[in-house]
């Protein structure tokens, strides 16, 4: 992003003004003329924690007037399992296991953010090959995560078909992850200092075979959903998040870029090999569900192009730095963040010089993205609430931690 673009975005936010109050209708009665028998009452509906469209155990309290949402409040904590607290009792090499289970759809990103934080704290120099392997796996993981979002988003809008198609591609990606790291989901592959084992030879043909078919498959998804006459009215102009609201709530990732702010940590604060790579950041304009959908679809295309660049340019060398078995970083504080499929995923570590962190905190992007539902859902219809929540791409494991 150029300085000019930053300035234009800042001006646009200033022009939109500050945060507006929630749109709560003032008159409660639908029937004019004081016909008390026909007056409507508000109904409070619990959406979740068991609901096929809440993507986990999210619980949203919806206050309804007929089909219209008057107020919405997300209730969290159904998956709180103390990952941050447990990390205070694990050594630095053992924490990756826990953090994998925080954002279980994009494990490579969480591991990378954590490893980056530890490396900055302990001043470990990471070999270039390790950084490139990390970026390669992260980009493939971004496709896998967005694919899962696409399938569930299709289901939210009433399309069962895409879910079956994305599972085909996800299986191909999980095969790659299994070849490289040994696990389908909980990789624990990126460790402080590098990666745990070298990039295997048999993974390269698998990745190339996937990338060769990928563009055709992505066009197939566009055929399935993008041009669909049932799908388009469900997402166009629904769930509009203005840029000022997105910034005020601290939203990041595709949700923020859907609102038109070009903020991507891979471009704005390049880490790893991203400064040397050639890619673009897709942007939306209005910030409705359609824009978030299109941004993610385009991100998948760019992620595949990035993966090809990374695979072609994979440097030779060591895959990990020399790291002591028991890591005792010096006392201090560090924050490191990566651009995960959901946004800025940061790890904040406070060290007292011992072999365990004094405090570890996760900056969970999905939590900030979800917090906007209190503001965005009121005024929309209950059927649109499902689509809007689906377009935020939340992972409850990372929100509740």
């Amino acid at each position: 992003m150029t300085a000019d673009q930053v300035k234009r975005a800042a001006d646009a936010i200033a022009a939109e003004g500050t945060l507006v109050a929630p749109k709560v209708p003032t008159g409660l009665r639908r029937v004019p003329g004081g016909v008390d028998a026909l007056a409507t009452e508000h109904l409070v509906v619990n959406m979740g924690p068991q609901h096929p469209s809440t993507h986990g155990v999210l619980h949203i309290l919806l206050e309804l007037d007929g089909e219209e949402i008057i107020a919405a409040e997300a209730s969290l904590g159904y998956l709180h399992r103390g990952i941050e607290k447990l990390a205070e009792h694990r050594r630095y090499h053992q924490i990756g296991t826990l953090l994998d289970r925080a954002d279980y759809v994009s494990g490579f990103h969480t591991e990378w953010a954590y490893s980056m934080a530890v490396e900055r704290l302990a001043e470990i120099e990471v070999p270039a090959r390790a950084e490139w392997i990390r970026a390669l796996m992260s980009e493939l993981n971004r496709i896998a995560s967005h694919l899962l979002w696409l399938g569930t988003f299709g289901m939210d809008t009433g399309a069962m078909g895409p879910f079956l198609y994305i599972m085909r591609d996800r299986e191909a990606l999980l095969d790659i992850f299994e070849t490289v790291s040994g696990a389908r989901m909980m990789f624990n592959y990126v460790r402080p200092g590098g990666v745990v084992m070298d990039f295997p030879l048999q993974a390269e043909p698998l990745i190339r075979a996937f990338l060769d078919t990928w563009d055709g498959y992505l066009d197939e998804y566009h055929d399935l959903l993008t041009g669909n006459e049932i799908f388009r009215p469900r997402v166009k102009g629904i769930g509009v998040i203005p840029r000022s609201t997105a910034v005020a709530f601290g939203m990041t990732g595709a949700c923020l870029r859907g609102s038109g702010l070009p903020w991507d940590l891979r471009k704005t604060r390049p880490y790893g090999p991203y400064a040397e790579l050639d890619f673009e950041v897709p942007l939306g304009t209005t910030g409705d569900n359609w824009d978030r959908y299109m941004v993610r679809m385009e991100e998948m295309r760019w992620a595949a192009r990035l993966a090809r660049q990374l695979l072609d340019g994979l440097p030779e060398g060591d895959f990990t730095a020399k790291v002591p078995k028991v890591l005792r970083p010096p006392a201090g504080e560090v924050y490191a963040a990566v651009e995960s499929p959901r946004g800025e995923l940061g790890v904040h570590i406070l060290s007292d010089g011992s072999d365990v962190p004094y405090r570890l905190r996760l900056r969970s992007p999905a939590l900030f993205n979800l917090s906007v539902v209190d503001e965005v859902l009121p005024g929309s219809l209950i059927a649109d609430a499902v689509v809007t929540v689906g377009s935020l791409d939340i992972v409850l494991g990372e929100i509740d931690r």
């Binding site: 924690p49 068991q50 096929p52 986990g56 155990v57 904590g77 159904y78 998956l79 709180h80 399992r81 103390g82 990952i83 607290k85 447990l86 009792h89 296991t97 826990l98 289970r101 279980y104 759809v105 899962l148 879910f163 079956l164 599972m167 085909r168 996800r170 299986e171 999980l174 389908r184 989901m185 909980m186 409850l396 494991g397």
Partner: protein, 166 residues
């Protein structure tokens, strides 16, 4: 079950009604679409095209009223335990529970944390435990086969006990 393969064409099969019902039940185990945590992703993969549980008659339902099996796929904490129990109570009889993964079986990697229930069997009765963190879809498939075997053997045991009494 292809009945005509057993009986030949235009012939008669004598069977106890409950045996017939149990055969139907174990070949149409509809599970409650209810993912809690990481294991839910593998559960979704199990329903996907590669593993295709639909070919065993194992299909997901969105509501507990239409489900036979509850797959507890993920960590259950104390806030969630009430919901799990309530969902189990809403399911019609006969019903079964599969504890998928280490967390649902014992609390898994989070068992040190006081908020986490040490296995979902403290909340609802569990029929099959599937180990793994998370279990692969193949493991869940094996768990379902064990459950089918359990349904078959319990109906046979019941019939045998009745024969002994007679």
């Amino acid at each position: 079950m292809a009945l005509d393969r057993l009986t030949g064409e235009n012939s008669v099969l004598f069977v106890r009604s409950e045996q017939l019902f149990d055969t139907a039940r174990r070949n149409s185990l509809w599970y409650l679409l209810f993912g809690i945590a990481c294991c839910a992703i593998e559960m979704m993969h199990a329903g996907g095209p590669r593993f295709d549980f639909d070919r065993f008659g194992i299909f997901h339902r969105g509501t507990p009223r239409q489900s036979d099996v509850m797959i507890v796929a993920g960590t259950v904490n104390k806030k969630m335990a009430h919901t799990v129990k309530r969902l189990y109570e809403q399911m019609p009889n006969p019903k079964w529970v599969i504890a998928m993964g280490a967390c649902a079986s014992t609390g898994g990697p989070f068992r040190m944390y006081p908020n986490v229930v040490l296995g979902v069997d403290q909340v609802v009765p569990v029929d099959v435990y599937v180990p793994g963190c998370p279990p692969r879809p193949e493991a869940l498939q094996y768990g379902f086969m064990q459950l089918q075997e359990k349904i078959r053997s319990t109906s046979e045991e019941r019939l045998a006990a009745r024969r002994d009494r007679a």
